[in-house]
């Protein structure tokens, strides 16, 4: 199997670095939004 290059590791880490807070923010908002349908309180 081809070993991932240093560049592609940096690329993935960069996306993970910005992706984690983004997904957390989306989840928090989605959870709040579910109250509209009576799913959450």
């Amino acid at each position: 199997m081809k070993k991932p290059s240093r560049v592609s590791i940096i690329l993935w880490l960069s996306w993970v670095f910005v992706g984690i807070p983004t997904l957390w923010g989306i989840w928090q908002t989605l959870y709040k939004a579910l109250a509209l349908f009576g799913v959450t309180k």
């Binding site: 923010g25 709040k32 509209l36």
Partner: protein, 451 residues
């Protein structure tokens, strides 16, 4: 500090351009915090009373000025420093943005500590606003240069981050305030300091990783035919002397005014239009459900930024805005009808679509500017155009609030029906936007002979 120089920011051969969007997102995710600033309204208004506001506490009107000053400084700094950004490159501009934005939190933290509101005006307002303006345009102009084949998608990604920033900042700020709260303190000052440190670290990641392409660079993974050729490369001074600039200014301002005006009213609006009096006790929309509605709008606002700007790469910017204006007008006319029908699903659906187009308008405009004026000084031109946003942010909510107040207080119209004329006014603004967009012609037709 030569590390910050433009010459040291040029990417080496073989650099993967997909490393640039995370750098842009790191900046936009932080500065998007401004849209969540309202979470501080209540705690800031009872810093002395702790459990309730007492004499000497700041009023909500006084606190509201912080947001207004920040948005004004966003537009002003983007307009004033746009050309400086083009000259010194994105890294230095992003570095200054990071210092200003986080410095604004440090200064505001001191303001809370000493209970001096002018420090908050200066901190989160002026300094933060300058950080917002520089931070908003720097990554966008860089991404446009890296993605000549998909400028809409590239800028949509960054500007989507701005929408996402509020989603991160609101729950994060609430958790931090809960963590720092004591019986004698609301924990706001400590939260400001913590946010300042966090945002500085995060934005510096963007500063360190941003790169600009070498002169004449073209992506290797696309054929040159698929790269969308921009029109003439005009500088910012020449661009603002064209009618196209003012038409685009009007397009952005009208699209934003129509969206931002109702965004601030969304929670109250759904509760009044679908109240117990209108629908009966079992079907009325509660305050919690209304909060969920606002959350849903934020999600569509964010998603629309990526979806519509990416779509604009396929169907063109003018067609994309034509959809915004025509569909938006129709939806605004439809909304009062959904209220009268008591159809909440249609109401929510219409607003979600409107909010996606509101976000899409922000995200598609840089690519529209690039198509029209080229990439030469697109950051500076974008900066000047952002004054339209500042103006809309100040005018839009005023328009909606005043019309509503006039109808309820002077004309004695029931609250549930008071929104109809507001919706028709918003539809009118979008119809006007359609005309402005329709009048926009490619620059070559009347400019080429002069060049």
């Amino acid at each position: 500090m030569s590390f910050l120089d433009k010459s040291n920011t040029i990417a080496a051969p073989g650099y993967n351009r997909w490393r640039v969007p995370p750098a842009a997102l790191a900046i936009h995710l932080c500065i998007g915090q401004i849209y969540a600033y309202s979470v501080f309204n209540k705690p800031l208004s009872q810093l002395m009373g702790i459990t309730k506001p007492v004499e000497g506490d700041w009023s909500l009107v006084q606190i509201g000025y912080i947001f207004s000053i920040a948005l004004f400084c966003l537009g002003a700094s983007a307009a004033v420093f746009g050309r400086w950004l083009e000259r010194v490159g994105p890294r230095k501009a992003m570095f200054v943005s990071a210092l200003c934005f986080s410095g604004g939190f440090f200064l505001s933290g001191l303001g809370v500590w000493w209970h001096q509101i002018w420090l908050l005006y200066l901190g989160n307002g002026v300094l933060g606003g300058i950080g917002l303006g520089l931070g908003y345009i720097s990554p966008v102009s860089t991404l446009i240069k890296w993605f000549p084949d998909r400028p809409g998608m590239a800028t949509g990604m960054a500007i989507m981050g701005f929408g996402g920033g509020a989603m991160v900042a609101a729950p994060l700020s609430i958790r931090l305030m809960e963590f720092f709260q004591t019986p004698d303190s609301m924990g706001v000052a400590e939260t400001f300091l913590a946010l300042g440190v966090l945002y500085l670290a995060y934005m510096l990641f963007g500063v360190f990783t941003i790169r600009i392409p070498p002169e004449g660079w073209q992506p290797s993974d696309i054929s040159t035919q698929t790269a969308q050729k921009p029109s003439l490369g005009l500088d910012a001074d020449a661009a603002i002397r064209t009618p196209q600039f003012y038409l685009l200014f009007a397009v952005l301002m009208l699209n934003v005014s129509a969206g931002i005006g109702v965004l601030g009213q969304a929670s109250v609006m759904i509760q009044e239009m679908f109240s117990e009096k209108v629908l009966g006790p079992n079907r009325a929309v509660s305050a919690v459900a209304a909060g969920g509605f606002v959350g849903l709008l934020s999600l569509f606002n964010m998603a629309g930024r990526f979806f519509w700007s990416s779509l604009s790469d396929k169907i063109g910017r003018k067609n994309t805005y034509t959809i915004f204006f025509l569909l938006g007008t129709a939806l605004y006319i439809l909304i009062p009808l959904t209220g009268r029908m008591g159809n909440i699903v249609l109401f929510v659906g219409a607003f979600c679509l409107i909010m996606s187009m509101y976000g899409g308008g922000f995200a598609t405009i840089p690519a529209y500017l690039r198509d029209m004026f080229g990439t030469k000084e697109v950051g500076a031109i974008h900066g000047r155009l952002l004054l339209a946003w500042s103006m809309a942010a100040l005018l839009g909510p005023q328009l909606v609030n005043n019309i509503r107040a006039y109808q309820i207080e002077t004309l004695h119209i029931p609250a549930a029906e008071a929104y109809s004329s507001t919706m028709y006014l918003m539809a009118g603004l979008l119809a006007l936007g359609f005309i402005c967009n329709w009048l926009i012609k490619p620059l070559q037709e009347n400019k080429q002979s002069q060049v």
